[in-house]
């Protein structure tokens, strides 16, 4: 199970790549493996304010729609049009081309509440 060291992780299986006061967000390899075929992604809008722990996006597999929860609060500054057009990227490249959106952090201290790679590894038992 791929769990990159440089990322931070929410218990609800979102990852955040924090760079200064901004973060890129997606879902983990574990999450995409559970979902299998991702057929649709509903992204937030640029400019949208998101709040940590609240649902801000939806990822749909063939059988079910799953809420994606904001791992950090802030304002959405970019969304990944590529993944909207090609949802399978979530399965094939969850930490790269399968990213969902970028957020300008409202509260950088929230990063400390996320898990490290080893903490996430413990959480998912892998």
């Amino acid at each position: 199970m791929n769990i990159p060291e440089e990322l931070r992780y929410a218990e609800s299986h979102e990852w955040a790549r924090v760079e200064g006061d901004s973060a890129t967000v997606g879902i983990t390899d574990h999450a995409q493996a559970e979902l299998t075929d991702v057929v649709f992604v509903e992204l937030p809008k640029v400019g949208q304010k998101i709040e940590v722990g609240k649902n801000c996006a939806v990822v749909e597999s063939v059988k079910a729609a799953s809420d994606i929860y904001a791992p950090l609060s802030g304002e959405v500054t970019a969304v990944n049009e590529e993944v909207a057009k090609n949802p399978a990227l979530v399965n094939t490249d969850p930490y790269g081309k399968g990213w969902f959106f970028k957020v300008k952090l409202a509260n950088a201290s929230e990063v400390g509440n996320l898990k490290t790679a080893s903490g996430y590894r413990t959480l998912i038992g892998k």
């Binding site: 299998t36 075929d37 057929v39 649709f40 509903e42 939806v58 749909e60 063939v62 059988k63 729609a65």
Partner: protein, 365 residues
Amino acid sequence: MSSLRKTPLHSVHVAAGARMVEFGGWDMPVQYTSILKEHAAVRSAAGLFDISHMGEIRVNGPDAITFLNLALTNNASKIALNGSQYSILLDEKGGVVDDLFVYRQGAEDFLLVVNASHIEEDFELLKTLPHGRVELRNESDTTAALALQGPRSAGVLDRWIAGASSKLGHHEIRRFDSDAGGVWIARTGYTGEDGFEILCDAASSEKIWKRLLGLGEAGGLIPCGLGARDTLRLEVCYPLNGHELGPDITPIEAGLGFFVDFSKPDFRGKAALVVQKQAGVPRKAVALLAKPGGAPPRAGYPVLRDGKNIGLLTSGALSPTLQTGIGLALVDATHAAVGNSVDIEIRGKYVPASIVKKPFYRRAT
């Protein structure tokens, strides 16, 4: 905790790493690898499904046809030896108890293949109907079934039983000898592709399953689960009991009037259907094709026309073949015309769709 029922192939699925889910009281594989991959395999090569969870009820005796004609909507007199027929079991109010296939294995020997979630209910109901010189037997526990479906399925079958496919016309069923004993094979299916449903002893099922996978692997045959089974049948608009059919839905509303023979003097539910036919159906089943780019339509989503709620979806999915949303819906009969534009409400957004002629997908030849 009540335990789920298991088919004879259950341990094979688990050993293969299939993802198991509850379906109609059974623990079944929803997918082995990927639903999309399994769906594509059936459309382009071949897929193998365990359908042993379905029920088999034998109707045998000199009065078999009379019994079937009273019990079911379709006309069993029309079934030739080695033929089969889709039919429906109704309740007294004309609502659907189950939809099923009737196979004629002998002059007076019929096998009904019924839905997994309704086996005992169907059997108990049939036993209460007057049945002259007819024996009814529930053979579900000792019978297994596999569905081999796809354009390459005939080739795989013939590698197992030489010449079998050339002996089976569309919707025919015949008995064959095989290296796994005697089997009955029907050229029927639930996918819209050419295919075969193989009925065998429960004890032979594992051998046949592995044999077919071995023979078909080089040509692209893969095991497929219920996830692909659902997207495949939806693309060809086949109904699923519990979604398009149920006690509150009549075959007329469901668009299955073709399988109801009103010329029969009587059949269970006839009186109620006659009333409905004369009064006009309040609802109709329609096929919806959504505009590409929207979220997948799913069962339960509302359907609107000009902002007004006109019904809801009974099934829905993103069609893997058409790459857009498709659905079956029950809507007000006054709005059900092919060509009408509607909206499907998905998480507060309105996805435009059209009512289209069935099916969404038709295989080449």
